[in-house]
Symmetry: C2
Subunit: 341 residues, 2 copies
């Protein structure tokens, strides 16, 4: 049973009003606000139907109604018209992400921050995947007796290092030799390939120098795995003054969940497939602490490839028509910024 035109209009109007005011919407209010020449009684009938079909719910008998996550979903899919980014927001985005910033980390930070600032919600950026990076350079430095610092550099300028304990002291010459071997054999190759090769080559060897190489390999592996976990989040506290979550119990849960990141990362990585903005509304995320929230995310593309995803976390009741283009725009700009650097 499809919704008729009038019902859709009323649903749209109701959700818009609720987003604007945050209070349940009653039949009188809605009848007036919707602009249709229609009596509250009629509206009540329609609302009752919409409630039956799961789009609305009333917090208690004599309150108005508020949208369910199903209602919001229908709203964003079928009723919503996104508005273009406001000039001021666009300005600010350009200002923060449009310039050349040499450091990747800084760019990511700027993006997270700007998301949080412009939306007054929590902003996040999943760090770029490194899977397709290639190895640019390796260095082994003897820091002290039996301690070697391994440094990995990728072609994009990622630098990662690790302290390795060795059984015997190794001379600078030996380490140099190892580094040279490493660079000559593997320099310019994709990290993943390097690791696979090393895994095979080092399977059964037990030489001391091979231990260094093995550790180096582990470092490489960590570089690939580490960013499985990494994610920048800013403005979690903005979630504090969402009246809808005021009951501190749920709030704590949410903040903890956001802090943990693990499940969140999992959720987001699933949304890296397409190249479009994606929404998780309320329970849709299948992740309990988020069930009162919505997540708006968009993948960002660097040199033609989706490297990560960014977005915001906020209340279900958020101005989607503005948030969506904002997240989208930020994703584009971040992609561009990262392509330059």
């Amino acid at each position: 049973m499809a919704m008729d035109e009038r019902a859709r209009h009323l649903l749209k109007s109701l959700i818009e009003q609720h987003i604007a005011n945050g209070v349940p919407v009653g039949s009188r209010q809605l009848a007036k606000g919707a602009g249709l020449n229609i009596s509250p009684a009629t509206v009540r009938n329609v609302m009752a139907d919409l409630e039956d079909e799961g789009y609305l719910i009333s917090p208690h008998t004599s309150a108005g109604r508020i949208p369910t996550h199903v209602g919001y979903r229908f709203f964003v899919d079928a009723l919503l018209r996104v508005v273009p980014l406001s000039p001021e927001s666009h300005q600010l985005l350009i200002h923060r992400l449009g310039h050349y910033i040499p450091d990747t980390e800084q760019v990511l930070h700027a993006a997270t921050e700007v998301l949080s600032e412009l939306t007054h919600m929590a902003g996040f950026v999943r760090v770029p995947r490194r899977a397709n990076r290639t190895l640019r350079h390796v260095d082994f430095l003897a820091l002290r007796e039996k301690e070697v610092l391994a440094i990995f550099v990728t072609d994009k300028g990622d630098v990662e290092n690790r302290l390795i304990r060795t059984e015997h002291a190794l001379s600078a010459a030996e380490l140099n030799q190892a580094a040279n071997f490493f660079n000559e054999s593997y320099g310019g190759r994709p990290l993943q390939e390097v690791i696979q090769h090393l895994q095979r080559d080092l399977q059964q060897s037990r030489h001391e120098m091979d231990r260094i190489l093995r550790s180096a390999m582990e470092l490489g592996e960590e570089m690939l795995e580490e960013d499985q976990q990494r994610m920048l989040i800013e403005g979690e506290f903005q979630l504090l003054d969402l009246p809808e979550l005021a009951g501190s119990e749920r709030l704590r849960e949410l903040l903890n969940a956001v802090r943990q990141k693990r499940d969140l990362v999992h959720l987001l990585d699933g949304s890296m497939r397409g190249s479009e903005v994606r929404l998780f509304i309320g329970e849709e995320s299948g992740f309990a602490p988020l069930s009162d929230c919505s997540v708006v995310s968009a993948p960002y593309v660097v040199d033609g490839e989706v490297l990560g995803v960014l977005g915001v976390i906020g209340p279900m009741r958020m101005p989607y028509q503005q948030i969506i283009p904002l997240v989208d725009g930020t994703a584009h700009l971040l992609g561009r910024a990262l392509s330059q650097s």
Copy 2:
């Protein structure tokens, strides 16, 4: 007018009770709890005196009394007996910080986390000063045309890197030469010295290669300056369910302040002088958002030198006699852990 023995005992007892229960303490309660054979009326007289002298205050006419920050200060200075670390806490501390962990960053993280966990408050660690580190190694890598990645390594294994844009493309040989020059001239010298020398030497030169060196110098400067700002904080939201700050307004302020770090860092750096645990109780910090909180901090010592400070932020009403040894112990262990690595 010194406080007589009985007054001190009562003050102590009152504060202990208030720390335990969180509610204002009345004369009846106190008379019973203090173990003295004394009537509530007498206690009232004493309490009135203590209030006059600024140690106590009553939230309203017919509530009991609670300590002021002056009261707490007297308490910790003159009345408090710290208890030894509980075996379980000690165990946990050892478990988390007693092992060898190669990565400095990880150790610092572990310390922050364990502080927050054991105290159920916000834990922080100021990152170690690098001022006295020496330069171990410098590398310049051409990443692309006109982009050079500079990598600095200190003797402790800190690695820092920076992307430098150049006007002209530089060959690998040229960069190598620059790095060699750098390493030969400055390797093994303290960072600060390196920077000073470079500042002098490069004052008026304008060669392309000198630009690289200058950028490298800036990187070095950043390494020294950066950690002026850096501080790890964990468990901020433990502060959420302090009943004393429930009014979300103050709470937001506090969380923001903690997030900003700037003033906090400033406050803490002042407390790196001595080698003892230090407390800032309430307004003592001279930092408005903290005026309802206490900060317990302790400097940590690596190789005989104070390199940083760590501690916790919590309500004024905290079990100081346990928190103090805990912070102290953590500082010792962190110092030890960092000496090894």
